[in-house]
């Protein structure tokens, strides 16, 4: 006997939806792809930030899939103006709230295109003027909304429609821009990287940023099944591997200094991460010596991150990447 129960007919989910023990900032019915990492990240951010916020949004997938006219998936005030000015309008909203003496937190959102490249000067200005804004960058490492063009955040050797592998190049020629270091150079109170694979860590970082009166920055690694070429089923697995290999280190910076890192107890070889994604498929081509070379290059970049941030913890640290999401009966090991 297979115990499968379809409860749709017996449970009124709409009534239950209104009684969920968490705040829902991004509601269901949005048009994100199956297994979208960015939708999950935005849901987790708004969940942790709570209702007393005003959001701004750069142009991008998030903006498009959440607000198909005449509907909106947002349950909090939300503005979209242009691709490049999420930080600029957030600055304006924050200044207006300040003038009114209100303490509502402003959260600016953007993808990696709108943050690393197009909206970068607006972001830099916002940080420099010390606005009380949390800027969240959903990093899916390319311009996904317009058809997977390479961005400043696209990792080295990844295939996009504008960095195709071929005779001349093995995917993107350049490195992923070290945005966190640039942000840190603004000497802001708090900047951190997070991953959808570690939701508790992510929510903790949002709450930490929300407490701070001043500019804060969060870079969230958000897999894109369509752009990265993996099944939506494994979005979390891919994100987890990015952390466990050292390719996407989870760190916290306060006033530009490294304040804490999520250690890796046993680094996973980067090929485990690469082989799950179509955008690195050319790195496994038979008979091309460059494939091996680029795989080794990416491994070296991961090793560099591990060394630079001191990601190798000592012994069985319950707060490392292996312990961070350990589950126990009736909920996670720690909140």
């Amino acid at each position: 006997m297979t115990d499968t129960t379809d409860l749709r007919d017996v449970v009124d989910t709409s009534a239950l939806r209104a009684r969920q023990p968490r705040f829902r900032g991004l509601e269901a019915g949005h048009r994100a792809c199956q297994g979208c990492g960015e939708a999950l990240a935005a849901r987790l951010v708004t969940e942790a930030a709570g209702p007393d916020v005003i959001l701004t949004n750069a142009t991008g997938c998030l903006e498009v899939f959440s607000t198909a006219w005449p509907q909106s998936a947002w349950r909090v005030p939300w503005l979209h103006s242009l691709f490049e000015n999420s930080a600029a309008i957030a600055s304006g909203v924050e200044a207006a709230l300040k003038a009114q003496g209100r303490r509502t937190k402003v959260i600016a959102q953007g993808g990696d295109g709108g943050t690393f490249d197009i909206g970068f000067q607006a972001l830099s200005g916002m940080l420099e003027r010390m606005h009380n804004v949390l800027y969240v960058c959903y990093d899916n490492e390319a311009y996904m909304n317009t058809g997977i063009q390479r961005s400043g955040s696209t990792p080295h050797a990844a295939m996009t429609t504008t960095s195709p592998p071929g005779k001349e190049r093995m995917g993107k020629r350049h490195m992923k821009k070290d945005l966190l270091s640039i942000i840190a150079a603004h000497h802001i109170p708090y900047a951190a990287s997070a991953s959808v694979a570690y939701p508790q860590d992510l929510r903790r970082k949002v709450r930490r940023a929300m407490e701070i009166d001043g500019p804060t920055f969060l870079l969230i690694h958000s897999p894109c099944p369509l752009g990265w070429g993996h099944d939506g089923t494994v979005s979390i697995e891919v994100a987890r591997l990015a952390v466990q290999t050292g390719l996407f280190p989870l760190v916290e910076l306060e006033r530009g200094e490294v304040a804490s890192v999520m250690p890796i107890r046993k680094p996973v070889p980067v090929v485990e991460y690469l082989k799950r994604q179509g955008r690195f498929r050319h790195l496994f081509a038979d008979g091309d010596h460059r494939a091996r070379e680029e795989r080794e290059h990416l491994q070296a970049l991961a090793d560099y991150n591990i060394e630079r941030y001191g990601l190798m913890g000592d012994g069985d640290d319950p707060f490392d990447s292996e312990g961070a999401d350990t589950i126990r009966r009736g909920g996670p090991a720690r909140a």
Binding site: T5, L16, C36, R329
Partner: protein, 568 residues
């Protein structure tokens, strides 16, 4: 015009909830409560995953109640079972299996200590009467499960006390008699009529039972030692292993030769070897055709004892000769002065079936002044000749039903081998009793017997990213120089140890309410509810919005979520 702001609310008309993304779906998530490997491996049919969960939740009594729904004697099996559950445990592939055996014992002991009442499900009283012959594990289990189904049960045994082989053949160092007495007394107090000192074939006949009762269960065990000789030669003073062990348990008498060779690879052989060693026999040799427990030994070729018992026997000085048999008895007149051993191994023959092949040229000689065969037992045919048809055991199916014997059922050591249902252990006998009770109930109700059959959950279906390696609890063992003939050698876990150990359970195939699906769904299509998820989990899927990405199924640590293709 004044502007009113309502924070954290949305205008219903414009919400994206009006857009049902569920129409995109090509596969839907469903909860599948698969059977954990421990459960599938348990000969008694316990669902260890279920009762470990109750311990984790801090409800040991509920855990015990879940356990005794299948096995009424956990304080006993928690001491003597070779625990195939632990061999099957998925955590064993990551670090070390859960100490299920020790936790079962702990629950059994707690139940005795607190006097927890056996839960009897509500139901209408039955007027039919059932005779259960043999108060060993199989009979006790059958009687208990029939009482749970509200039948009137009369239990017969030739001995003055219940327990069968638990009492007559297992040393108190493995199963203390006060534990046995207390557990069985509690069991019999459930309303089982116990007629002791009543032997089948001597005091009562099968025909009489069939006339007086609506159904009969035979759990009479295998009480006769299997015939043993070496090329027709038998020492004049031959004592069989089980006979020696029983005699020692009842009257404390034991022969003490200078050196003994015990032939056999089961519990009787090992128990007897240890008892003789402790009684002062200088050299105790154990010759077995099986291999010793270890990674290189195939499961069907290993010594049929709990590995721990084997290790303790080695500690105590018993010498093992695996993959060997006795080729020749070296006699002086009718007295044994030595044995000639030869190496052998179980190998597949031309038809693929494994047989034992002896290797010429590997003969060695052991000088001993006594040989004790302990190669197994067969059914004592007295009183049941008509059902045995000249065989060693009763031929039956997994429910204990025999061809052409409507109302007579059988189980435990007395039955022949049934595919997928090995016997020969206390726990297997308990399982036989339970299945036979179901078959008897079915027979008396005019239906077919049923048994739960859930799909297995292999290690690969778990998401191991969510489990951490953690050490198995260590249990106290009586040091070598303190061991005697009465004190229990193995200690049980403390309450704190039991809780720690239960926490290591992966919860294979069952929801452990970790919130992963709820936390990780990008579409908020998993709804958390304690009251309304009737399948035992805390979640329901909102199929209006679920896009069918399968992320929840992949990230479920326990393999509780399965994606099922939508019908076109």
């Amino acid at each position: 015009m004044p502007v009113t702001m309502t924070r954290g609310a949305f205008a219903k008309a414009g919400t994206s909830l009006a857009f049902k993304t569920g129409t995109w779906r090509s596969a839907r998530p469903v909860h599948v409560h698969a059977a954990a490997p421990c459960h599938r491996a348990c000969p008694a049919g316990e669902d260890q995953q279920a009762w470990l969960a109750r311990i984790q939740e801090g409800h040991p009594q509920a855990a015990w109640e879940s356990l005794v729904a299948a096995n009424p004697i956990p304080a006993v099996t928690g001491r003597v079972c070779p625990h195939p559950c632990e061999s099957a445990c998925n955590r064993g592939k990551m670090d070390e299996p859960i100490a299920i055996h020790a936790l079962e014992r702990w629950l059994g002991d707690e139940a005795i200590r607190h006097g927890w009442a056996y839960p009897i499900p509500k139901g209408p009283a039955r007027t039919e009467r059932v005779a259960v012959v043999g108060a060993g594990p199989a009979g006790l289990s059958a009687a208990y499960h029939l009482v749970r189904r509200h039948y009137k049960v009369t239990l017969f045994d030739s001995m003055p006390e219940a327990g069968g082989l638990l009492r007559s053949a297992i040393p108190p160092t493995r199963l203390p008699r006060d534990v046995l007495d207390q557990e069985l007394a509690r069991l019999l107090a459930l309303g089982i009529e116990f007629r002791q000192r009543t032997a089948l074939g001597r005091d009562i006949t099968l025909e009489e039972l069939k006339t007086e009762f609506d159904a009969v269960f035979l759990g009479i065990g295998a009480g006769k030692s299997r015939h043993w000789d070496v090329d027709g030669a038998v020492p004049a003073d031959l004592h069989e292993g089980l006979h020696l062990l029983k005699e020692w348990l009842q009257v404390g008498a034991l022969p003490t030769p200078k050196a003994v060779a015990i032939h056999g690879g089961g519990n009787t052989a090992v128990d007897l070897a240890r008892v003789m060693k402790r009684a002062g026999v200088a050299e105790v040799h154990l010759i077995t055709a099986s291999g010793l427990p270890g990674p290189d030994t195939e499961p069907d070729d290993v010594l049929n004892v709990v590995p721990r018992e084997f290790e303790q026997a080695v500690e105590e000085g018993v010498k093992f000769y695996p993959h060997r048999t006795i080729n020749r008895l070296i006699m002086r007149g009718s007295k044994v002065v030595g044995v000639e051993m030869v190496r052998l191994k179980k190998l597949p023959g031309a038809n693929g079936r494994k047989t034992r092949v002896a290797f010429e040229g590997t003969e060695t000689v052991l000088h001993v002044d006594m040989v004790v065969p302990a190669i197994g037992e067969v059914v004592d045919p007295a009183g049941v000749e008509a059902l045995l048809h000249g065989k060693d055991y009763f031929a039956c199916d997994r429910f204990g039903r025999m061809e052409g014997q409507g109302r007579v059922f059988v189980g435990g050591d007395a039955r022949a081998w049934v595919k997928g249902y090995p016997n020969g252990t206390v726990t297997a006998a308990v399982g036989d009793g339970r299945r036979a009770a179901e078959a008897i109930d079915a027979f008396l109700s005019g239906r077919e017997p049923a048994e739960e059959d859930r799909p297995p959950i292999p290690y690969e279906k778990l998401n191991l990213a969510y489990y951490e390696s953690s050490a198995r609890i260590r249990l106290p063992t009586l040091p070598l120089d303190s061991r005697n003939d009465t004190d229990e050698i193995e200690g049980g876990p403390t309450a704190a140890q039991a809780a720690t150990e239960a926490d290591r359970c992966f919860s294979c195939g069952n929801c452990l309410a970790c919130d992963n699906c709820w936390t990780l769904c990008p579409d908020s299509a998993v709804i958390k509810t304690v009251d309304q998820a009737s399948d035992g989990s805390h979640y329901v899927f909102d199929l209006d919005y679920c896009k069918g990405c399968g992320l929840c199924a992949h990230e479920c640590p326990c393999g509780y979520i399965k994606m099922e293709a939508e019908e076109e």
